[in-house]
Symmetry: C2
Subunit: 362 residues, 2 copies
Amino acid sequence: MTNTGQSDLVVPPSPDGPPTRVLSIASHVVSGYVGNTVATFVMQLLGLEVCSLNTVQFSNHTGYGKWTGTKIPSTEIDALYEGLKNNELADFDMLATGYVPGAEGLEAVGRIAKDLKESGGGESGTRFFWVLDPVMGDSGKLYVSETVIPIYKGLLPLADLITPNQYEVEWLTGIKLTSPADVSNALSKFHADFKTPHIIISSVQSLVNKNEYVCFGSSMTTTGKPRAFSIAVPMLQGPFVGTGDMFASLLVSRFRHAAADAGLLETPNWMSSDSVIATELPLARAAEMVLASMDKVLKKTGIERDKKVKSLDEGDHGNNAQLKRARYMRAAELRLVSCVEEIRSPVVKYTAKEFKNGVLQA
Amino acid sequence: MTNTGQSDLVVPPSPDGPPTRVLSIASHVVSGYVGNTVATFVMQLLGLEVCSLNTVQFSNHTGYGKWTGTKIPSTEIDALYEGLKNNELADFDMLATGYVPGAEGLEAVGRIAKDLKESGGGESGTRFFWVLDPVMGDSGKLYVSETVIPIYKGLLPLADLITPNQYEVEWLTGIKLTSPADVSNALSKFHADFKTPHIIISSVQSLVNKNEYVCFGSSMTTTGKPRAFSIAVPMLQGPFVGTGDMFASLLVSRFRHAAADAGLLETPNWMSSDSVIATELPLARAAEMVLASMDKVLKKTGIERDKKVKSLDEGDHGNNAQLKRARYMRAAELRLVSCVEEIRSPVVKYTAKEFKNGVLQA
């Protein structure tokens, strides 16, 4: 298949990408979509062999207010990994980690990451790569204990790509994001202080236009300088749940594909040479694909949620505040299984622009 | 979209089917494909909202000889279901159950099935439907305790569709399958003794042609008589693992779609009227689709397994028999994530024939 030069005749790439074996450590809920119930399906749809290690099994996510189920002890995380190693099943190309309950669990994840980093990579011969989503909180609310934060800071230098949200950036860098210049400083700080090769801040409420949000990313140069880009996306009316998990798992898949296309899978940290400009980075290519899928899935979710919410608004919930909360929570669950094509073959609509010296391009 | 009558112009049906919420109770392994790691992905690909309740979390399946992880206690199965009920999340259209470790766990599953049967069905207003895969053993080997068998016999009258293999049929009916007439008797016995509306025996080593295996199915009439069909499929060289789980989860999805196409979802047990002949049953349509996908996935799995096995045969395993066993086991894992299209849009190759009076049609 050749690119004919006519963009409308370009054959779309296979949604499956290169052979990839990924260990995904996150939570599991029986009903609904957060953590591994999002990540597993999304990454499988994009061709990754996903090994899901579930840190909890809950009936539903905690936003419902009530739930049942248990966290697994950190010793069990260690044991499951040992079981994989004993059978030579721990030859992972990638590690993806999301919400981990508590300091001990996070330390167990850190031990696994170190061990995988040392063992070097998977059967495919490509460099081991860790995508760390430092799940700590959102919208001004911390949902892990403060004791977890120094552990995350200790782990950041091991990660190849991190995907903090605005709030998590503020906790990790100490920089409050009130202007594009602040974002620029935070990206520089991650590269400088934690040697983080790749960073994506999935969504910052736009500091320019209130009807959009901006995704920022940067892959550092050999001298540790940022190569930053921004992608502006129209704001969709929330509430949504599990969007951070969907973003991270799409990014794991799309960055793997983009790095393969650029021939970088055997390069340490999949780092592009310094001659590659920000908007040509595999990370920028990947983020564009991720945001294209996000936009489609969230639009579908929003339409169906609003229909449901309308009938809930008209309904009678008696005096049961808990049940009322649960009904609205359920209405907002991601619509994933009806979005197979949107996840596998999205059309890019929002493209990356260079983000230099803290100045956002219109 | 209209059927033009020219078969090469027929627009393929959507792979997604009607809105369906299914509770899938089975085991989970971090690496590889058995139980819910097969069922969840397969059913999601076919448009079902899958709520996966994992009865165990193991590092890998037990065929490797060594594994780590734990079974969840039966009280935890009860608790997770209670958590769903408390949030009105237990409004399932379907229940799919596979391997359940031990008698107490199976009793917990029975309680859930009874409760769902009484509550009647999901939000979509369709009849609740239970697909019970009575996982007890295979190829002459029981892998549950014998105490489980009377519990299964007690649960069969609650199930709408059961999917036993040859060995499980023999345990449940007491009839040894040595001729087509024996199969016919076993199908009749399930309908008569357990009032099971629909039965599929996924694979019986052909009693006629050694190069094929035969899938048998029957949906009973209002008078409890079988309407049986058979589908002969060329034998593929094993070993395979997880095929029973793949068959059952494809069937859950395809029978839902076929029953919807026939307008039967609000009919008790999705039962076709007595005028429908065996080869026109929704169950026959579903089984044809299931076997088409199975054939494609198993062929791909077999080719990649054989390549891997060849290099293992030439390799050195030292004196480590356990590691050798693990390597061959891994080589035989199902190739699922590279088979999205084969699962969503298979082309039917093997069609159902009437199976009457114990006589197999050529």
